[in-house]
Amino acid sequence: MKANQSDEIRLSIPNKPEYVGVARLTVAAIASRIGFDIEKIEDMKIAISEACNNAITHGCRYCDEGEYNINFVLTEKKLTISVYDKGEGCKCELEDIRKPNYNNLKEGGLGIFIIKSLMDDVEIESEKGKGMMIRMIKYLGDGI
């Protein structure tokens, strides 16, 4: 790929647990095509799954549409993955996401924390009632 050029791959998936694995294999295929190493590919597989889990679990609970979307934007230097749903949205603030507290173990609340930890850059855009978009970036090479 030439410098400054970017390619886009779009995927649209039914809002069902059984297809999250498809998103995971697709990101692995894309990332290995542009030369990411195995460790980074594993990171992205987990991160995209967490975002899909959220789109399914929180995003589309009451919506009809029954699908969510993933955009992959590839350049020579990085892969940007955006997962967006048209669900209820939320007022999640990335700054509020903290490492879990083990004096008070909870079964949930790990997803966004894991995404933040595994990806180089993460952004959330959400408007109550209009859905949520989480954008995450992984850099090729030594990163940021």
Partner: protein
């Protein structure tokens, strides 16, 4: 993209040996939850997970492990995870769960 669970009570060592093979994700997590429920109902003893063939786990699976541990802790029992692959080790470390479960080998 599937999960196989094999469980056996090891009466010599007095723990459950649970072999996980494949992927624990939002699709297969229900299976794991069910297995732990049955195990804990039968006998509240330490659970040792052999993760040698576990290729993938995410927060859905970790949540279920945490849930099971909470129930075991009531009787002072633990979850031991052995033979973990690097990607899973990394996830446990990042989340601090490597200090909550007992990690072996």
């Amino acid at each position: 993209m599937s999960l196989k669970i094999k469980k056996d009570f090891d009466s010599k060592n007095n723990y459950w040996l649970v072999e996980l093979e494949g992927e624990v994700d939002v699709y297969t997590a229900g299976q794991l939850k069910e297995a732990f429920k049955l195990i804990i109902k039968e006998k509240k003893e330490n659970i040792k997970i052999d993760a040698d063939k576990l290729e993938y786990i995410d927060s859905t699976g970790l949540g279920i492990l945490i849930g099971a541990l909470k129930r075991l802790k009531q009787e002072d029992k633990d979850i031991i995870i052995s033979n973990i692959k690097p990607n899973i080790g990394k996830l446990l470390k990042i989340t601090g769960l490597d200090k909550v479960f007992i990690i072996e080998g």
